[in-house]
Amino acid sequence: MLRIPDLSLVSNRLRLIALCVFILSLQGCAVMKNIQDKFRHVTSHPDKEIEKIDFPVAKGEDVIGRLAVVRLEKGDTLPDIARHFGLGINAISAANPGVDVWVPEAGERIILPLSFILPDAPRKGLVVNLATMRLFHFKGDGTSMVVSTYPVGVGTEERPTPTGQMRVARKATRPTWHVPASIAADHRKKGDILPAEVPPGPKNPLGEYALYLSKSGYLIHGTNKPASIGLQATNGCMRLYPENVKKLFNDTPVNTPVAIVNQPYLIGQRNGVLYMEAHTPLENSDAGELEKMHAKLRTIEKKSAGTLDWKKVKEVQSEARGIPVPILAMRQGSETEAPEPLEVEHPDALYGRPEIPELKLKAWYVLAADVRDEIEARRLAAIINHQGPQIPARVIARDSGFRVLAGPFNDAGEAGDAVKRLKYDLDIDGIVIDPARKRQASPLPGTAHRTERR
C-alpha cells in the first residue's frame, strides 16, 4: 500500500529546517564579522599617508577629513609633526593637552586633528576662521565641491586680523617687505634697527608669495618663521607655511572673495550626525559666540527627534580640543560614537624639519646656555632651531650638566648675528666661541658674560 505522506507535516519540517539554516547562517555572519574584526585589529598596519589638504565636500555636509594618530620618535617636536601633517601649533597642542611641545616623549601617541567643521560662511573663495587659525579654499560648484585647507598664523591681540568680507586685490612673488613704522618702532625699542624695506630672501618675513587683500595693508603671505603657523604672531596679516602658500598662490586668481570670520564654536553635520568643535576663543572674540551656538543647538534639537546631551556639549566646549565630536543622531540608526582615528606611520623624514649641520672644528659657535637640566637644554635647543631663519643648535652633555651650542657659523659676522638675534628675540646672552682660541670663550662686545636665560 502506498503511503501518502502528510503534506502539512512535511511543510512544517521544511519550515523548521529553513529556520534552523537561517539562524545558523546568521550566526556564521556574526562569527565571520568577529573574525574579520579581530583580523583587522591584529594585522592592521599604520597607513603610510593621510589626506591633509584637499577634501571633497558632500552636499549638505559640514564635516571634512578624519582624525589620525602617529607615534612619536626620538627627537620629534610637536611643531615638526604639525608642519608635516599640515597643522598649526595651536591645533596639535589643543588636541594633545599635557604633551610637551618641544620635548615630548618618544613613543607617545599624538592625535592629528585632521577633521574639521567648515565655518558658517558662504562656501565661495577663501574663508579664514581666526579662532581655529585655518584657511579654507572652496573650489568647484554646488554639485562637486572640493576644499583645500591650510593652517595660518594670525594677528596678535594688539594688532588683530580684521574680520569681514574682502577680496584678493593683487598677487606678488618674492615680495619686498616695506617695514611699517609701528614695527620699526617696536624693534628700535629692543635696539634692533630695521631697514625701511627688506628685499626677498631668508630675512624677509613675507616669504616667497603674497596675496594682497582689498583691505589695505593686509596680506595672506608665506613666512620665514614656519613654526609661527598656528600662533597669534602677525601684525594683522595671515601667514602660511611656505609649501602651502605656494599652492594657494597658484590656485587663487585675483578678485577671489575672502571672508574672514571668528568662530570658536562650530557645529555641522555628517552622515546624519551632528558634530560640535570647540576652540579656545581669541582674547578679542565676541562673547556672544557661545550664546549663538547654544541657540543654534536648541533650534536643531527642537527639529530633530533626539535629545541633545547638554552635559557633553559643555564638556566639548570646556575642553576646547578643536576636534569635531558627535553630539546628536539626526536620523534614526545614525551612529553617535566617535570614529576611530586612523593610525598613521611615522614618516622617514618630517617635511620642513630644521636640520642641524655636523660639528666642525674650524667653525664659530655661540654658547647659548649652560644648564643642569637636560629637558631644559633640549627645549632651548629646539626653540633656537625653530627660529626663522633657523639658528642651528644642539645639546652637548657634560659631567656637570648640559650646554646649548648654536652653530656652526662660518665667520665672526655670522656668529655675531646669531648672538644679536638670540638677545633680541629670546633674551639670551650668548657667548661667541672663536675657533682660533678653541676652548676659550670670548663674549662679543656689548653682551653679558653669562649664559643664564632671563
Binding site: D100, A227, A233, T234, I375, E376, L380, I383, G388, D425
Partner: protein, 100 residues
C-alpha cells in the same frame, strides 16, 4: 587525772603545732610565689617599657618618614612647578620671537 589532762594537752598542742607548721610553709610558698610574680611583673614592666620605647621609636621613625615623604613630595611638586614655569617662560619667549 593528770595523765588525762596531759593527754588532752598533748592532743591540743599537736594539732596547733601542726597548724603552725602548715602556716609557715604556706607563707614561704606564698612569699616565693610573690617573688616570682614580682620578678615576672618586673619583666613585664620592662617588656612593656621596651615595647613602648620601640613603639615610640617606630612612631618617631614613621613620623620622620612621613615628614620626609611630605618634604620629598613638596620638593617634587616644587621641581615640577619650576619646570612648568620654565617651560611656560620658554614658550612665551618662543611666541614672542615668532613675531615679525
Amino acid at each position: 587525772m593528770k595523765k588525762g589532762l596531759l593527754l588532752i594537752s598533748l592532743l591540743l598542742v599537736f594539732p596547733i603545732t601542726m597548724i603552725g607548721c602548715a602556716t609557715t610553709s604556706e607563707l614561704e610558698k606564698v612569699e616565693a610565689q610573690q617573688k616570682l610574680i614580682d620578678a615576672k611583673a618586673d619583666q613585664a614592666l620592662q617588656d612593656a617599657q621596651a615595647a613602648k620605647a620601640a613603639a615610640d621609636a617606630a612612631k618617631l621613625k614613621a613620623d620622620d618618614a612621613t615628614a620626609r615623604a611630605e618634604n620629598a613630595e613638596k620638593a617634587a611638586m616644587e621641581r615640577e612647578r619650576i619646570a612648568d614655569e620654565k617651560a611656560k617662560k620658554a614658550d612665551a619667549a618662543f611666541q614672542k620671537s615668532m613675531k615679525k
